[in-house]
Amino acid sequence: MSEKKEIFSSKLIKFINEWRDKPGNLIMILHQVQSELGYVSRESADKVAEMIDVPLAKIYGVLTFYHFFKMTKPGDNNIQVCLGTACYLKGGESLVDEILSQLGIGIGDITKDGKFSLEAVRCIGCCGLAPVMTIGGEVFGKVTKKQIPGILSKYL
């Protein structure tokens, strides 16, 4: 039998083994998987299931319950638009519309070239800057529709 290509780093495997029998292990491990690989693929979920002896269905339940977890590969630059209460009231949705017209992607989509993906998030903790969006971790506050093309161009 041929060995499957190892998808987890040795660091990640060590982390999983350390958390194997601790309470609350599943969420900690899935966090770590996502932080290393950018998302939790089916392949990763299968591997976690096997390593810590948790049914795949349980993992799927957790992955789909928390918006935080991504099950599809994000783009090189993941755009998060906040649609929490403050941002929503300040026009967060218009940012989503503008990104759709600029990049042709809606929430949960990825551009064909894999450069951008878009997701909606609930409050990233800086409501004073509403409406807020982030790209690859960089925060943009008080964003207007007009600023979008300029912001996106920085990542092209």
Partner: protein, 581 residues
């Protein structure tokens, strides 16, 4: 003991009792929807909310344990209104196709909506459009009808340990679904059908194959030969409003004939045959050095599927003997066909079963065609049969008592108790004792291992040879025993048991996934009682005493475990993936 008041009525109950059960003790009914006595209260629906005197906190009766001095108000105008709103909201997302629903007349949501007198739904209808999952040979998932009570997930995970279903997503997007929205047939589902019998509505049901039986009956070139499983004779009674536990063997034979079946045989005969083979196999394993022990029973197809998927390392521990249904099928299309001078290709072999996994078992592998044809062509559940009988105007209650056809319809009490937890073991011991000692067991009732305990262990003395047995029902409980056996195996030690009976469903086949809805431990106990009574009233109580079995061996099979017996009555197992996609 705890003292409390329900609507002012004093009641004394044991500590840990829920408010719901305390209320029921004094005859006060608190409405419920998601609650099921088999399951840990999940408290998802909110129908059972109650008020407490002197405390503003609203409680859920199903999940709140009683406390000293508690005074519960189970109903007032406000509680009624809240409950009614919950129902109206549930109905606003539920299809109103009741008339054509599999649960029409047997739906818990329909009943409670009727009780509350709901005549209109004040909310905007928001009924989802979701495709049915018909991938499984046994079970249909119809998520449009799901009311998100969570019972199926709880049953699948907690009672069965299978984890085919899980809550996916959250809020109003929540679904009860296999992982990754896979089709059920690509998941670890073992087709036990416990999700079906616990679903309050028509969101999960068996694959309806009644039309196939009708077509075969109407086909003049086919001889329809039917067999009925041990537990069917008790289960069917409830479908016709007879008292729970009533044994309706003779009436069912005549009902099947009235339906148009040409020959009516009994799976109990197959069960006697299974004991001859499985018991002989056990004795062979016990007396042959280097044999794989313990021997697990193999008559439950959901358990076999579970072993192949979850514990393939133990597949050689499974008895190679086929289930009674498959043995009966193989003998029908060989021995019977030969004796009756019928071409087996013109026999349509039907099995009435308490089980949905049996629909899958008939196509499990090539050894299910040992006669050269499908040994069993069709499996119908108790519910399907009862529907079919009713549609043809056949009322079981008024049918005459008749006998099964010969020569493969005669059975012993050992065959009949195959339908309940502990029964296969007890039946096997009655015959294995004879095989080991050459003598007859005087006291055939092995009451020490009867009952509804999750895992029951014991020791049987075969005149100096101690045989250690365990009985498991409810698949989740099998994990404990499998791990124990596996640990011994890994450590190179001898196993802690010699013979283990496993039935996937709690209580055994009498509470299988194909039995009437609404099964609780109370009905389980009564159905089991019915089978033990049938055993007690039997002319023969040991499988090897069945004259038809003796004749089958002398005329056709030669001896248990003979070459011919192996060809027709034994099977093999394989390692299966949990997920095929």
């Amino acid at each position: 003991m705890i003292n409390l008041k329900i609507n002012g009525i004093p009641v004394e109950v044991e500590e840990g009792t829920t408010v719901l059960n305390a209320a029921s003790k004094v005859g006060v009914k608190i409405p419920t929807l998601c609650y099921h006595p088999d399951l840990t209260p999940f408290a998802s629906c909110g129908m059972c909310i109650c008020k407490q005197e002197g405390n503003k906190k609203i409680i859920r009766a199903c999940s709140t344990p009683v406390s000293e001095g508690l005074s519960v108000i189970t109903n007032d105008a406000e509680l009624f209104q809240v409950r009614k709103t919950i129902l109206e909201m549930t109905l606003s997302t539920h299809p109103s196709s009741c008339l054509t629903c599999v649960r029409n007349g047997k739906c818990e949501l329909q009943s409670i909506a009727a009780e509350f007198g709901i005549r209109e739904i004040p909310f905007e209808l928001n009924v989802p459009v979701i495709e049915k999952d018909i991938s499984s040979p046994s079970i249909v998932l119809d998520p449009e009808k799901c009311i998100k009570c969570g019972r199926c997930v709880q049953v699948c995970q907690d009672l069965q340990g299978v984890y085919a279903l899980e809550f996916a997503s959250r809020g109003d997007q929540t679904t009860m679904s296999p992982a990754y929205s896979l089709k059920l047939n690509d998941t670890p589902c073992v087709k036990c059908g416990q999700c079906i019998v616990h679903c309050p509505v028509g969101a999960i049901y068996e694959k309806d194959q009644t039309a196939e039986l009708r077509a075969a009956i109407l086909d003049p070139t086919m001889q329809v030969v039917v067999q009925m499983a041990p537990s069917v004779r008790v289960g069917i009674s409830e479908e016709f409003d007879l008292p729970v536990g009533t044994v309706s063997t003779g009436k069912l034979y005549s009902a099947l004939r009235a339906l148009g079946c040409d020959k009516v045989f009994d799976t109990n005969f197959g069960a006697d045959l299974t004991i001859m083979e499985e018991g002989s196999e056990l004795v062979h394993r016990l007396t042959t050095k280097g044999s794989v022990l313990p021997q697990f029973t193999s008559c439950c197809p959901a358990w076999v599927d579970y072993t192949e998927k979850y514990y393939p390392e133990l597949k050689d521990n499974l008895s190679s003997a086929k289930s009674p249904m498959m043995m009966q099928g193989a003998i029908t299309k060989t021995y019977y066909a030969n004796k009756a001078k019928i071409d087996p290709s013109s026999i349509y072999s039907v099995a009435i079963m308490p089980c949905t996994a049996k629909k899958y078992e008939i196509i499990r592998n090539d050894s299910m065609k040992s006669s050269g044809y499908n040994d069993v062509d069709l499996v119908l559940t108790v519910r399907e049969l009862s529907g079919l009988l009713k549609s043809q105007g056949i009322n079981l209650v008024s049918m005459p008592e008749e006998e099964a056809d010969s020569p493969i319809g005669e059975y012993t009490g050992a065959g009949t108790i195959f339908g309940n937890t502990g029964g296969v073991m007890e039946a096997a011991v009655r015959t294995a004792y004879h095989l080991v000692t050459g003598e007859e067991l005087e006291e055939v009732e092995i009451t020490a291992v009867r009952g509804l305990g999750k895992v029951r262990k014991g020791e049987v003395d075969f005149k100096g040879t101690k045989v250690r047995v365990a009985i498991v029902h409810g698949l989740a409980n099998a994990k404990e025993v499998c791990e124990e056996v596996l640990a011994a195996k890994k450590a190179g030690k001898s196993a802690p048991y010699d013979f283990i009976e496993v039935m996937a469903c709690r209580g055994g086949c009498i509470a299988g996934g194909g039995q009437p809805y609404g099964t609780t431990d109370e009905t389980r106990a009564k159905r089991i009682e019915g089978l033990y009574t049938d055993d007690k009233n039997s002319k023969w109580r040991k499988s090897h005493d069945n004259p038809s079995i003796q004749m089958l061996y002398s005329e056709f099979l030669d001896a248990p475990l003979s070459h011919k017996a192996h060809e027709l009555l034994h099977t093999t197992y394989e390692t299966k993936k949990l997920y095929t996609k």
